[in-house]
C-alpha cells in the first residue's frame, strides 16, 4: 500500500466514511466528522503508524488529506535518508 492509501484507510476508519469517498481534496470543510478531536486522533494515528513526530506547524498545515500525505511522505524521506 502507498502512503496515501494507508492514510486514506486511517481517515476512513476515523471519520467513518468509505475510503472511496476520500481523496486528496478531502478536508474538514467537506468531511463533517473531521472535527478537532478527530484531527488530534488523526495526528496520533499517523505518529504511531509511521513512527514519526509531527511538529505544531505541520499539524496546523494538515488541512486536506493531500497535504497530510505530502507532510508524512516528506518526513518519511528525511528519516529514511
Amino acid at each position: 500500500m502507498t502512503v496515501f492509501d494507508q492514510i486514506r484507510t486511517i481517515a476512513s476508519d476515523l471519520f467513518a466514511i468509505p475510503p472511496g469517498k476520500i481523496n486528496a481534496a478531502s478536508s474538514p470543510e467537506n468531511i463533517e466528522s473531521w472535527d478537532s478531536v478527530q484531527h488530534l486522533n488523526l495526528v496520533l494515528a499517523l505518529e504511531e503508524k509511521f513512527g514519526l513526530q509531527l511538529s505544531l506547524e505541520e499539524i496546523e498545515q494538515m488541512k486536506t488529506i493531500g497535504e497530510v500525505a505530502k507532510i508524512v511522505e516528506g518526513k518519511l524521506q528525511t528519516t529514511a535518508g
Binding site: 476515523l14 467513518a16 488530534l40 486522533n41 494515528a45 505518529e47
Partner: protein, 629 residues
C-alpha cells in the same frame, strides 16, 4: 509498523461479518487488535465489534472518566481493548478539568450518566501546581502544607462522590516529577518534593481504604514502568492538553482494564498450564530430568519466573491446573522431584496429563473444579495449541505468549483476568480447600449411604448476619456464583450495605466446617418482607458445598425466621440461566408449590402457616448475630 498479515486480517474480518460468522469474526478482530493495538486501527476494531452486539456474549458496562487532561483519544483504544475481553463499554467523559464541580454537584452529568465505575484521572501538575512547577517558590514548610491541602481535597472528593453514587471509583495517584526542581539535592531532604508527592499518595490509599468500592490506581508506577521521559509528550500537552505520548496511551487503557475486568466479573478462576517449554524448558520425554532447563540461572530462570508468577496467582485465590501432552509418569517425576521446581503437585487443583486433545482436558478440568469453562485461562507456549483452543472453546481466556520465554512471566502477570480488587480470607486459602475436597471425595466412596457419609462429615453451619469482615466476601459470592444460584442477582458491597440498613430486608451468610476442614463463607441468602410474605431475593451456595444438604439447613432457618417475624408465605423465584441448572429443583424438592410461571422463570411458594422445612439432623447449625466477627 503493520505486519504483512494485518491487511489480510482486516479483509477477513469484513468477509466473516458479511457471512454472519460472528464468533470467528470476533476472534479475528481480537487477533487484529493484538497485532496492532494503535489509534490507527482502534476505530475500525470498535466499529466492527459494535456490529457483533447481540451476536456474541458481551457484558455492557458504563464508565465515566473525570479528568484534568485530554483523554478523548484514549477512549477508542480502551473500548477496543474492552471488546476483546467481552466488555461493551459506554464511556462518558467529564468536562475538561471540571472533576471537582462534577463530583460536588448532585445534578451533574456525571450522576445522570449512572456509571458502573468512575475513573478520577488528575495530574499532579493540575491538582498541585505549587508542588509541580513552583516548588522552589514555596516557603519553609510550604511543601508539607501544600501536600496536606491536596490530600484533604482528594479525601473530600472521595467522600462526596460516595455520598452521591454507589459506583466503583478508581482514583489515579499522583506521578512524581521527571526532574525534581532541586536536582539531586531533593533526595537529601526528608521534606523533599518527591516525598511530598509520596505522602499525598499514602494519604490517598488511607482515604480509599476507608470508603467502600474506592480503588487506587498507581499511576506513578505505571509511568515509571514505561519510563517517565518516554511517557510524557510536552508538545502534545501544550497543543491539546494531552500529556501522554501517542504510543503510551494504550498502556493507560490497559491499566484501566485491570480494574474494569474484575469489576465486570470477567475474571479467571483458574489458570491451566502446559508443561514442556512452558513450566520448564525442553521436552521431558526427550531431554529427561537432567536435560530440561529449569533453575535459578540462565536459561532455566525464565521458567522459574513463570512458576513464581503462578504461585503469586494462587495466593490471590486463582487455582492452578495442568493440561499437557506427556507420559504422566515422566511429568509427575519432574513435579515431585526436580530441584528447580517451585510448584509441586500439592499446588495444583487438577491435572490432565495424557495424549488427549487439550480442549477435552480443559472441559474435564472445569467440571472437576466445578467452575465454568469461561473461568479458565490457558497458558501454552505452542501457538498451534492456543489457536485450537480458541477455535474449539472460545469461552476460554487464551493467554498470548511472546517468542522469548523470558517474557512469559510478564504475560501472565499483566493479564487483567487475574486481577482482584479485594482479597477475602477464602481467596487466600482456596488451594487448601480443594485439597480437602479431594480427601472428602475419597472418603465418600467408603460409605454405603449418603446419610452415613453426611453423619461422618460432622458438618457445622454457622449462619450469621453481615459484619464488616464478611461484607466483601458476601458481595463477591453474589458476583461469582453461577451454578447454585436461584436468581443470579449481582450485588456490590455498597448495595449489600444498603440492604443491611433496610429494616425490611435480611442478608444472611453461611459458613461451613467439617471434619476435613473449613470451607469458609460459602453461601448467601437475601430475603425481603412485604406484608404477609417474605420473598427470597437471592439464595446461593458456592459449588464447593453443593450436595451436602447445607442448603436445606439455610432454607429451614430462613423459613423459621420468616415465620417468627409473622410472615405467612415464603416466596422465591427461580430464574434460569445457562449455568444454574443445579438450583432448578431446589424449591420443588423442599415442598414449595409452583405459584406462577412466565418467560423469565418460575415463582415458588411455601405456606408457612402449615408447613416448615426440616433441617437435616447431621448439620449442626449455629446462629451468630452480626458485629462479633
Amino acid at each position: 509498523m503493520a505486519t504483512e498479515s494485518t491487511p489480510n486480517l482486516r479483509d477477513e474480518v469484513e468477509r466473516l461479518l458479511e457471512e454472519s460468522q460472528w464468533n470467528s469474526a470476533a476472534r479475528r478482530l481480537g487477533e487484529f487488535w493484538r497485532a496492532e493495538s494503535s489509534s490507527a486501527v482502534a476505530a475500525f476494531v470498535v466499529s466492527r465489534f459494535e456490529k457483533l452486539r447481540e451476536k456474541i456474549p458481551l457484558t455492557p458496562f458504563r464508565l465515566a472518566i473525570l479528568r484534568s487532561f485530554t483523554v478523548e483519544p484514549i477512549v477508542p483504544l480502551l473500548r477496543a481493548e474492552a471488546f476483546c475481553f467481552g466488555i461493551d463499554l459506554s464511556v462518558h467523559i467529564g468536562d475538561f478539568n471540571a472533576y471537582a464541580q462534577e463530583i460536588l454537584d448532585s445534578e451533574s452529568s456525571l450522576y445522570r450518566f449512572a456509571a458502573n465505575a468512575v475513573i478520577l484521572a488528575v495530574q499532579t501538575g493540575d491538582i498541585a501546581p505549587d508542588l509541580w512547577q513552583d516548588y522552589t517558590h514555596l516557603p519553609l514548610n510550604g511543601a508539607k502544607e501544600a501536600g496536606q491541602r491536596v490530600s484533604e481535597s482528594l479525601e473530600g472528593y472521595i467522600g462526596e462522590f460516595r455520598r452521591r453514587s454507589p459506583a466503583a471509583l478508581i482514583a489515579h495517584n499522583l506521578e512524581q516529577p521527571t526532574h525534581p526542581a532541586l536536582g539531586v539535592l531533593d533526595a537529601q531532604r526528608l521534606a523533599s518534593q518527591a516525598e511530598t508527592v509520596r505522602q499525598i499518595n499514602r494519604d490517598l490509599v488511607i482515604a480509599a481504604s476507608r470508603t467502600r468500592g474506592v480503588y487506587v490506581m498507581d499511576y506513578d508506577a505505571l509511568v515509571a514502568r514505561h519510563g517517565r521521559l518516554r511517557w510524557r509528550d510536552e508538545r502534545k500537552w501544550l497543543l491539546a492538553r494531552l500529556p501522554i505520548a501517542a504510543d503510551k496511551m494504550i498502556q493507560l487503557a490497559r491499566e484501566w482494564m485491570r480494574f474494569l475486568v474484575p469489576l465486570t466479573g470477567r475474571t479467571a478462576k483458574a489458570v491451566v498450564v502446559d508443561l514442556d517449554n512452558t513450566l520448564w524448558g525442553g521436552v521431558i520425554g526427550e531431554d529427561g530430568m537432567t536435560g530440561i532447563k529449569l533453575g535459578a540461572e540462565y536459561p532455566g530462570a525464565a521458567y522459574q519466573a513463570v512458576q513464581r508468577a503462578m504461585l503469586d496467582l494462587s495466593h490471590k485465590g486463582i487455582l492452578l491446573a495442568i493440561c499437557s501432552k506427556n507420559n504422566p509418569d515422566d511429568a509427575i517425576e519432574v513435579l515431585e522431584k526436580h530441584p528447580g521446581m517451585l510448584l509441586r503437585p500439592k499446588n495444583f487443583a487438577a491435572m490432565r496429563i495424557s495424549w488427549n486433545d487439550k480442549s477435552q482436558g480443559l472441559r474435564e478440568i472445569a467440571s472437576e473444579l466445578n467452575i465454568g469453562i469461561d473461568s479458565l485461562a490457558f497458558l501454552d507456549d505452542n501457538p498451534f495449541e492456543r489457536e485450537q483452543v480458541r477455535g474449539t472453546l472460545p469461552e476460554v481466556m487464551v493467554i498470548d505468549l511472546p517468542q522469548d520465554p523470558f517474557g512469559y512471566a510478564a504475560a501472565l502477570r499483566d493479564h487483567p483476568a487475574f486481577e482482584r480488587l479485594a482479597l477475602s480470607a477464602e481467596d487466600q486459602q482456596r488451594t487448601t480447600f480443594y485439597a480437602e475436597q479431594r480427601e472428602r471425595a475419597q472418603a465418600e466412596q467408603k460409605f454405603q449411604s449418603k446419610e452415613d457419609f453426611y453423619r461422618f462429615l460432622e458438618q457445622e453451619a454457622e449462619i450469621a448476619t453481615v459484619t464488616p469482615a464478611t461484607l466483601a466476601r458476601i458481595s463477591q459470592l453474589t458476583q461469582k456464583t453461577n451454578q447454585f444460584n436461584v436468581t443470579t442477582q449481582r450485588y456490590s458491597e455498597q448495595q449489600i450495605s444498603a440492604l443491611v440498613e433496610n429494616p425490611s430486608s435480611q442478608v444472611l451468610s453461611i459458613r461451613i466446617r467439617d471434619r476435613f476442614g473449613d470451607h469458609g463463607l460459602v453461601g448467601v441468602s437475601i430475603t425481603r418482607d412485604e406484608g404477609e410474605t417474605c420473598e427470597i431475593d437471592s439464595f446461593l451456595l458456592s459449588c464447593r458445598v453443593i450436595g451436602r444438604t447445607v442448603e436445606t439447613a439455610l432454607l429451614a432457618h430462613l423459613a423459621d425466621q420468616a415465620a417468627a417475624r409473622g410472615r405467612k408465605r415464603l416466596l422465591g423465584w427461580f430464574l434460569p440461566t445457562k449455568k444454574n441448572a443445579p438450583a432448578r429443583e431446589f424449591y420443588a424438592q423442599h415442598g414449595f408449590e409452583l405459584a406462577q410461571q412466565n418467560a423469565d422463570g418460575s415463582l415458588w411458594s411455601l405456606d408457612l402457616t402449615k408447613q416448615r422445612i426440616a433441617a437435616p439432623e447431621w448439620v449442626k447449625v449455629v446462629t451468630v448475630n452480626g458485629g462479633n466477627d
